[in-house]
Symmetry: D2
Subunit: 95 residues, 4 copies
């Protein structure tokens, strides 16, 4: 059996991180609702974004490992795959 996607092995961990990030966003909303100090709210938003950055990098890592280890990618469309990867990174950088 082949794993279809690069992140198959990390799926549980990625889902756990995302569920935590979801809770963090809810926490930010609670802070705003309770009129917490703006700078403290910003610090928490920052924490959510750092958590999402980590998920994104984890997915990218698995994807890159998968592409580099995969014979089919290797022989047939390495240029396309590289472009797709770098374009995704470009979007992350210039968000």
């Amino acid at each position: 059996m082949t794993t279809k996607y690069g992140y198959a092995d990390n799926k549980e961990q990625v889902l756990k991180r995302l569920s935590r990030a979801e809770g963090q966003v809810r926490g930010v909303a609670r802070m705003v609702d309770e009129d917490k100090y703006c700078i403290d709210v910003l610090t928490q938003i920052n924490a959510v974004q750092a958590a999402l950055d980590k998920v994104a990098l984890e997915l990218l890592r698995d994807h890159a490992r998968h592409c580099l280890a995969n014979d089919e990618v290797h022989s047939h469309n390495s240029g396309d795959k590289a472009d797709e990867l770098i374009d995704a990174i470009g979007r992350m950088l210039s968000r």
Copy 2:
């Protein structure tokens, strides 16, 4: 009556944005759970991050307006307030 916090006027809108961001994070988790293609998941994570950037900037804007318009801030601790603001921005930039 004074508004205590800079974002008091935008509170409803900020809360709406955050609730949408929370839904987006849940959507990302669903994509991962359904083994969607890595690059598509990244695109969605990026959308959440862009939404959170917008909330953060909105809060910053209200905070800056508030500080600049506020007599007390102005006369007593303008240096501290400026530092606090810029340090928050620095953390956003070097997350």
Copy 3:
């Protein structure tokens, strides 16, 4: 005599940092010219960017301190000044 700009006091230091950043960019070009390993070149580009981030934050800090301490800004156009500041930050974040 009034100092016209927020960064007047830090001018020497800002100029020194910029001159160092210029040298760093030249160093990156040298690495590329000598066919240095891509990942090492990226590390150096990152160092230049971090240096420029620091200059930008320093200028922002002086600007924010200046605006917050300035009577005229305070009374007449605090909203415009806050918007201008936050728009600049928004451009930095979404570069």
Copy 4:
């Protein structure tokens, strides 16, 4: 004859971009020296950083294409190469 580095084909263009970025940094220093308005200086710093981001992405793209197309990378150390690539991207994102 093999090209040793991923960016060999783009070398001229990368060097041209870097030389332009160097000139831009010099331009920023001139603005500071002439006491130009802080927000305008920030806009120019931003332009340099966007230019350097472009160089970095170009190098990354060539590197990824090179790794994906290269038999040796493929068979021997795809995991290491992927990690190295993603770590470099992680440093760019969390600068």
